[in-house]
């Protein structure tokens, strides 16, 4: 510790260079922590999801709907307890009815900054197979009795300040779900609470409405986005999935049935090989910062050849001199890592409140700073500092006093 003031004074010697190196390190760790947090949230999302439910979708893509006739056939499969249609509506606020006036500021177009998940479901089987969602009985009754009714999560209600009885409009960006007479009108009939202990992936920022409303409003032409299938025995998931897909093999609309967790993984994979992309960016940034920091340390040490010789002349051993240089490099790493980590935590918190991005992020059950990612970030920062300081420190270790004094 008695050498710490000495180390800090050296770091302040060329504060522009030290500051820019620390800033570079901070940006590196910020990017790493942020990217890793996104990846971790995606990984967690893959692992979560009920094992008692399957999702059956179009084998080609989620874009294609499945025929409604499939529901009855799936229900007949051995091991299936219940089946419910669930269609992703893709509606956005505030597509108000009056905004169909083309002179309106938004031109009648959906505002994606207020995007949230809204699903058209068959309410009875859907809520029966999702016990993690609890809706007061009177509210559920009111919902079932109103075709325009919807049930929203507590988080969504808080986000938009909605309460039971409020009315709002949604306009879908999916062409088959848009109608001539304008956006869909909805009435909040119930607010559900999500039991995350029972089901970690349970999201309280989703809106559910009647599939029947969607079906009838769109001229009874739309199919089912997907079928959620409740199993009688969770262990039979693979068998039941194979049996369902077997029924529709070689049909015009082949199916792909999988567990909810696998479905999430597939859904996220639609973004592309995001993990590979993010990891590649992270590695490239880390490697670049390693080179920059190593260069900085080399320059700093090269400029101090005489001082290193003086230290050795005064009685500092080669190990002690090497230790001082490594400590200096580690300090740069620790400062950069700490700043980058702090920046990452702040940005992640801010991002959750940013319109559109926040909606996407909040869709992940476990998005946010995590000790393992923070630990990795700090570890990398220290490693980068150490690696960057290693070569100049070794050079100082090996240097001979007389040679370094002679080069003055």
């Amino acid at each position: 510790m008695k050498f710490l003031p000495y180390i800090l004074k050296h770091l302040r010697r060329n504060w522009v260079r030290t500051g820019s190196t620390i800033l570079g390190m901070a940006v590196c760790i910020f990017l790493f922590c942020t990217l890793r947090t996104v990846l971790k949230a995606m990984d967690d999302a893959r692992e979560l999801g009920s094992v008692t439910r399957l999702v059956t979708r179009h084998a080609v893509s989620l874009v294609y709907n499945l025929p409604l006739s499939y529901e009855g056939q799936i229900t007949q499969v051995k091991g299936v307890k219940r089946v419910a249609i669930s269609s992703w509506f893709g509606g956005s606020l505030p597509a108000k009815k009056e905004s169909q006036d083309k002179s309106a500021p938004d031109g009648g177009q959906p505002d994606f900054s207020k995007f949230f998940t809204n699903l058209a479901v068959e309410d009875e089987p859907y809520f029966a197979m999702h016990p993690e969602f609890s809706v007061p009985a009177d509210e559920m009754k009111a919902f079932r009795e109103d075709l325009r009714g919807c049930v929203i999560g507590r988080g969504l209600a808080k986000q938009f300040g909605w309460k039971v009885g409020d009315t709002f409009f949604l306009e879908s960006f999916i062409p088959p779900y848009r109608r001539r007479e304008g956006p869909f009108e909805f009435v909040v009939r119930g607010i559900y609470d999500a039991d995350k202990v029972r089901e970690p992936a349970a999201d309280d920022r989703v809106m559910y409405f009647h599939y029947k409303y969607l079906y009838e409003s769109t001229g009874r032409r739309v199919g089912a986005g997907l079928y959620v299938v409740e199993l009688e025995d969770p262990k039979q998931g693979a068998t039941v999935a194979r049996a369902i897909d077997g029924i529709f093999e070689n049909s015009e609309a082949e199916t792909k049935s999988e567990t909810e967790a696998a479905f999430r993984a597939d859904f996220l994979a639609m973004i592309g090989n995001l993990a590979l992309l993010l990891n590649s960016i992270g590695l490239a940034v880390i490697f670049t910062i390693l080179l920059v920091t190593a260069n900085t340390m080399s320059m700093a040490v090269r400029e101090r050849r005489t001082e290193i010789a003086v230290l050795k002349t005064l009685g500092f051993t080669s190990r002690q001199v090497m230790g001082l240089i490594l400590a200096e490099a580690l300090t740069i790493g620790a400062l950069g890592g700490g700043i980058g980590l702090g920046l990452s935590v702040v940005i992640m918190r801010v991002m959750t409140r940013v319109p559109a991005i926040g909606g996407f992020i909040n869709g992940f059950p476990n998005f946010g700073p995590h000790w393992s990612v923070s630990g990795q970030g700090l570890g990398i920062a220290l490693f980068l500092g150490l690696a960057a300081g290693l070569m100049p420190a070794l050079a100082a270790y090996r240097s001979r006093i007389t040679e370094m004094l002679r080069q003055v």
Binding site: K2, F3, P5, Y6, K9, H10, R12, R13, T306, E307, A309, V310, L311, K312, T313, L314, G315, F316, T317, S318, R319, Q320, R400, I401, T402, L405, V408
Partner: protein, 234 residues
């Protein structure tokens, strides 16, 4: 070889250079810098080493200070054969036994005068307070206690050299080696530095070995020795 094992009885001269040869190799070529040097410096001596450039003065000084090793022969300083110590033992030995004064002062620019002087004491087990007190005492000896908080860039050349001398004496070594300590100074500052070195020799009993080109500086020494082409002249 440990420091203890290399330690010789502390009788006789404080510096005993015996038949030392120093050869540098550049590719296949051998450059003999010192050839068969024998010097004995009694305790409390003030010795001036003189000679033309390239005669081997600084090399001999470096050998005595323990920052270089002879190719052959023995360099015994304060009872220790420095050539037989390992690198780390030699470093520790230097910190206790030798104070080095450079021509260009070689103060650390980011440290204040007090911190520069305190630097050798970081290797000791002294507390921060004790280190500060000793460093301040050393600065008082060289007459710069009032400049303790100044950085080297805020000091004149003469003052910088005095701080460097304070740094050399702060660990209370028996031997001070100085490589052209007045070489970068004006006449007045040089005179002050030489007076200070005389005082250290006379009042504090420090053995001083000084390399110099300056005959006026050499006159301050008790003894002068001349090197030419790596050989000591009578």
């Amino acid at each position: 070889m440990s420091a203890e094992a290399a330690r010789q009885p502390a009788t006789g001269p404080i510096v005993d250079v015996r038949n030392v040869r120093k050869v540098y190799r550049r590719d296949a070529e051998e450059i003999v810098v010192l050839n068969g040097i024998n010097v004995q410096v009694p305790n409390g001596e003030f010795l001036a080493l003189m000679g033309p450039s390239g005669s081997g003065k600084t090399t001999l000084l470096n050998l005595i200070a323990g920052i270089d090793r002879p190719t052959s022969g023995e360099v015994i300083v304060a009872g220790t054969d420095v050539g037989r110590l390992s690198e780390s033992e030699l470093a520790r030995w230097r910190s206790h036994n030798v104070g080095f004064i450079f021509q260009f002062y070689n103060l650390i620019p980011v440290l204040t005068a007090l911190e520069n002087v305190e630097l050798p004491l970081l290797l000791t087990s002294l507390s921060k307070k004790e280190r500060r007190e000793r460093a301040l005492t050393a600065l008082k000896v060289v007459g710069l206690a009032d400049r303790a908080g100044h950085y080297p860039r805020q000091l004149s050349g003469g003052q910088e050299q005095r701080v460097a001398i304070a740094r050399a004496i702060v660990a209370d070594p028996g031997v001070l080696v100085a490589d052209e300590p007045t070489g970068d100074l004006d006449a007045k500052s040089a005179e002050e530095i030489l007076a200070l070195m005389e005082s250290l020799n006379r009042d504090f009993g420090k053995t001083i070995i000084m390399v110099t080109h300056d005959p006026r500086a050499a006159e301050k020494a008790h003894t002068q020795k001349h090197l030419e082409k790596g050989v000591l002249k009578a």
